[in-house]
């Protein structure tokens, strides 16, 4: 039993809904009580979808439990098949239905339905949303491609075969789905990128694909695994069964996009082209003099694996930040996140407990947080600027404008959205210069409309001391001169200065913090 309020991922049947709702011509019959129908609004509200997800809930009630819920399942399956006439039918159950063991998948298999039926077994008490999405996508592909399985022993198709066939090479984009971060725009950006390389985008799935489209997957030379959280297991299976190579570099950031292009060109036997990064403004913006103030900014990153790894690379190499924390809730991809963290001399935080992440964030004392909606809340509480880089999403993370993360334009979007929450370089100095003016006194609202952090909001020392039952005030005392000096420091850095000074004093056994101690600490910590 695990105590939580927020969860990074929903239950696995929500992952299955993401696949069904992303596709055309697929319907999902979900054996679930009325309470589970809340999941509709993930799609109609957060993604602002103009239609209900293609899901029929059996909505069994307490009074049905003694009776024949299996009959209810069969009736729901038949109704859904008649009403929606999908090209493929998914059948599964949610957490409660799993306990009553009606086995809706098996029931559906025995009903002689005119369309392929995929029975989903998604263990609700041990697995989560992304696993459910990946498993559903994989089972769907497997079921639909079974008739095309090449006989064993057949040699792998040559990814350079397009050259003899007098056509452009083609690849599939696998992984983009609803409720993924900026998938809609990433697909458009990667299509353009591929087109410029002379490559055709063959099938994009699950987003916008029909079962018929999935059947065309093997016609392409390779699969691009855009989001391993969703497409990794499918790509592996296609590699094993159809000999289709997988391109696994995710093109988020300048360096990764360059690598992605090179990997594709090599695989497909295309001539290497000159660097495409000239198409992005991001490298110049990052080199430009105004960005000097970004140097060494302390950044804390927590996201799904794909976006966390990409963010760490961009932050450390392309923006000159210092990554002070890196982690992910994607246990399935934990190994890759650990490797990325090790490269930066960090230990990755793999956790689905947002309180643990918040504690790590407070401990790392970053100047910028890159995270999910959960970290946005934590960062707000701690008074640290934050940019959202990954699911789980809020409606505001599905913007009306074109805002990809991938490719050249994605790099531009990332520069803007990560840098804007920070204070500009000159602004920082000017605020220092005018800090005694009325605009900067305590409690003044900045033009960004956010309140300054409360005095104790971001104070891990106080928190730690409380947790240990020790009254910090007994150990440390701020002398009037120290207090006066502290109050002259602008509110947005005061917490940090206070913290640094206290830890400096503590380490040296200083009990009385005077103005001199504050300045000694400042000199000690100045970078």
């Amino acid at each position: 039993m695990e105590l939580t309020l927020w969860t990074y991922e929903g239950p696995p049947h929500v992952g299955a809904m993401r696949i069904a709702a992303s596709m055309q011509g697929v319907h999902y019959v979900l054996h679930a009580p009325q309470g589970d129908t809340y999941a509709d609004l993930l799609f109609t509200m957060i993604e602002r979808r103009d239609q209900r997800p293609p899901v029929t809930y059996t909505t069994f009630q307490a009074r049905d439990l003694g009776g024949d819920t299996a009959e209810l399942v069969k009736r729901s399956i038949r109704d859904a098949a008649d009403r929606f006439q999908p090209q493929a039918l998914l059948v599964g159950e949610s957490c409660t239905a799993e306990l009553i063991q009606d086995q809706p998948g098996a029931l559906a298999q025995g009903m002689n339905l005119p369309m392929p039926v995929v029975s989903l077994e998604l263990p609700a008490y041990s697995k989560k949303e992304n696993w459910g999405a990946a498993e559903t996508f994989y089972q769907l592909i497997r079921t639909l491609l079974k008739p095309q399985l090449p006989p064993a022993g057949l040699s792998k198709p040559d990814p350079k075969r397009w050259q003899e066939q007098g056509r452009r090479p083609r690849v599939n984009l696998l992984g983009p789905s609803l409720l993924g971060f900026r998938c809609r725009d990433d697909v458009r950006e990667v299509r353009v990128l591929l087109d410029e390389l002379g490559i055709d985008t063959h099938v994009v799935a699950p987003l916008g694909a029909s079962p018929e489209d999935l059947r065309r997957i093997p016609q392409a030379e390779a699969n691009i695994c855009l989001y391993p959280e969703v497409a990794d297991s499918s790509c592996r299976w296609l590699e094993r069964q159809f000999g289709m190579p997988t391109v696994s570099t995710v093109p988020i950031g300048i360096g990764a996009t360059e690598m992605f292009c090179r990997e594709l060109q090599e695989l497909l036997g295309l001539e290497p082209t000159s660097q495409g990064s000239g198409q992005s403004r991001m490298p110049w913006y990052s080199r430009s003099v105004d960005s000097t103030y970004l140097t060494g900014k302390r950044v804390f990153i927590f996201a799904d694996a794909t976006h966390a790894i990409a963010a760490a690379r961009i932050a450390s190499r392309e923006l000159g930040f210092e990554v002070v924390g890196l982690g992910s809730y994607s246990r399935e991809q934990a190994r890759a996140v650990r490797a990325a963290a090790e490269e930066l001399g960090l230990a990755a935080l793999i956790s689905d407990n947002y309180l643990e992440v918040e504690a790590a964030m407070a401990e790392a004392a970053p100047e910028l947080v890159l995270g999910t909606q959960m970290e946005r809340h934590s960062a707000k509480r701690l008074g640290i600027p934050c940019a959202v880089i990954s699911s789980p999403l809020h409606v505001q993370d599905v913007p009306a404008r074109y805002a990809p993360q991938m490719g050249w334009e994605g790099a531009n979007v990332i520069f803007d959205s990560w840098v804007h929450p920070l204070m500009m370089g000159l602004e920082e100095h000017l605020i220092g210069m005018f800090r005694h003016d009325f605009e900067f006194v305590d409690g003044h609202m900045s033009h960004k409309g956010e309140k300054p952090p409360g005095p104790e909001a971001a104070d891990p020392i106080t928190l730690a001391a409380e947790a240990n039952g020790v009254d910090e005030a007994e150990l440390l005392r701020w002398a009037p001169s120290g207090q006066a000096e502290l109050s002259r420091i602008p509110f947005f850095v005061r917490g940090k200065v206070k913290r640094n000074t206290e830890s400096y004093a503590q380490e040296r056994g200083i009990i009385n913090i005077t103005d001199e101690v504050l300045y000694e600490a400042k000199a000690h910590f100045s970078r």
């Binding site: 039993m1 695990e2 105590l3 939580t4 309020l5 927020w6 969860t7 991922e9 929903g10 239950p11 049947h13 929500v14 009580p33 009325q34 309470g35 589970d36 129908t37 809340y38 999941a39 509709d40 609004l41 993930l42 109609t44 509200m45 957060i46 602002r48 979808r49 103009d50 239609q51 209900r52 029929t56 909505t59 069994f60 009630q61 307490a62 439990l65 109704d79 009403r83 949610s94 957490c95 409660t96 306990l99 009553i100 263990p123 609700a124 008490y125 041990s126 989560k128 809340h377 809020h394």
Partner: protein
């Protein structure tokens, strides 16, 4: 009840529901949590009861300000028959003097979300002290401002003392007994009402205080039960009624003659339909409610047109088909259906907003009507030509 905490004992779906379906709960974060059952709890490897004790001890250590802990049963906890009333008893022993622990079912295998309020209040009834002192007991949550206003009005009417369930502080539960007269603020509190009646309280039947008419009848019913003269009641209510009707007028113009379809969601549908038909001049295409408690809704039913199309229970596909066929001017529905209907050109109003907004009383009638007029006004105001 800021000193109460609701701990759902359930699955990951429960936690996900709370965070997704109730984005508004962000503001109530300190008052909700889920104890997620894992495989080990189901397989019996870990004794679910021991695990629950551990989770509760953790929670209480972290949140010492909690005075009342609600253990909320869920679909999975009901199906595996985890006995939360026994658990509450045990935890009450363990944490005696610090916190009171009660339990109820918030399970999604029941009918609808407003049942949760009914169940939570029912769970508090056994803890209420017994008393024969005459009093008026307001039952059901109200916005703070509305509650204050109602208390002032009861004082003007000469009714008192007045107590509220739930109280602002969970530890200050009102007394109940033969002298208590109950006045419900919401139509979905059937179980709570029956539990209080079993303790000797007497239920005042009335339409619910939505709209000018409903609110006036509601106050009048209370005044009659307390033997207040009609002349005095009228002298108190008259100015409110006049003012309330004036506030309604501009919205009535926007709503009059428009066709309304209420999809089942909150159990407030009958009272809303009555208000919108009688006071705002709307035409009722269909009034759906997830569950119809005739004992509590008879007065509302009496005020609805005799030929009103009522439907009970939820079958979303069939209901949507009827919506499409009748093409109403306004549909009141849950959040999951609003955007799809808007995309089909059908104007909607989310019913969840009605549970969270101050809409009760004569003084709020104008605001209540405005909630329905706004989507229509907006549709009229937008143009992309």
């Amino acid at each position: 009840m800021p000193d109460a905490f609701f701990l759902v004992v359930g699955s990951r779906t429960c936690a996900h529901l709370i965070q997704s379906a109730a984005g508004v709960m962000i503001f109530a974060e300190p008052r909700f949590g889920t104890a997620i059952l894992g495989e080990r709890d189901l397989a019996g490897l870990a004794d679910a009861n021991e695990e629950l004790d551990r989770v509760v001890a953790d929670l209480l250590q972290r949140r010492p300000e909690i005075r009342t802990l609600f253990l909320v049963g869920s679909c999975p906890s009901e199906v595996i028959k985890l006995d939360l009333s026994k658990a509450a008893e045990r935890l009450n022993q363990q944490h005696r003097g610090r916190v009171q622990v009660v339990n109820y079912s918030g399970s999604g295998i029941e009918t609808t979300f407003t049942q949760g309020e009914d169940q939570a209040l029912t769970a508090l009834v056994p803890l209420m002290p017994q008393s024969t002192t005459p009093q008026l007991l307001l039952v059901g949550t109200l916005a703070d401002g509305v509650e204050e206003r109602f208390l002032t009005l009861f004082e003007r009417l000469g009714i008192g003392p007045v107590a509220s369930l739930p109280p602002r502080r969970s530890t200050e539960l009102p007394a109940v007994g033969p002298g208590t007269k109950l006045l419900l603020t919401q139509p979905f509190l059937g179980q709570t009402a029956r539990a209080l009646q079993a303790k000797g309280a007497e239920l005042i039947s009335s339409p619910y205080p939505l709209g000018v008419e409903g609110s006036e009848l509601w106050f009048r019913a209370a005044a009659r039960a307390f033997g207040i003269s009609d002349e005095h009641t009228t002298s108190v209510l008259e100015p409110l009624v006049t003012r309330g009707r004036a506030a309604l007028e501009p919205h009535r113009k926007a709503l009059e003659g428009k066709r309304l379809f209420l999809l089942p969601d909150s159990q407030m549908e009958l009272a809303l339909g009555r208000f919108l038909q009688r006071e705002c001049g709307m035409e009722l295409v269909e009034v759906g409610t997830p569950y119809l408690d005739r004992a509590l809704q008879q007065e509302e039913l009496d005020l609805l047109p005799a030929d009103v199309q009522l439907s009970e229970g939820q079958n979303v596909e069939e209901q949507l088909q009827r919506v499409r066929q009748s093409h109403p001017d306004l549909v009141v529905c849950g959040m999951g259906l609003a955007n799809p209907l808007e995309a089909e050109g059908i104007t909607t109003k989310w019913s969840i907003e009605l549970v969270f907004s101050p809409i009760h009383g004569c003084d709020q009638a104008g605001d209540l009507a405005e909630l329905f007029a706004r989507p229509l006004r907006r549709r009229g105001a937008l143009t992309f030509a």
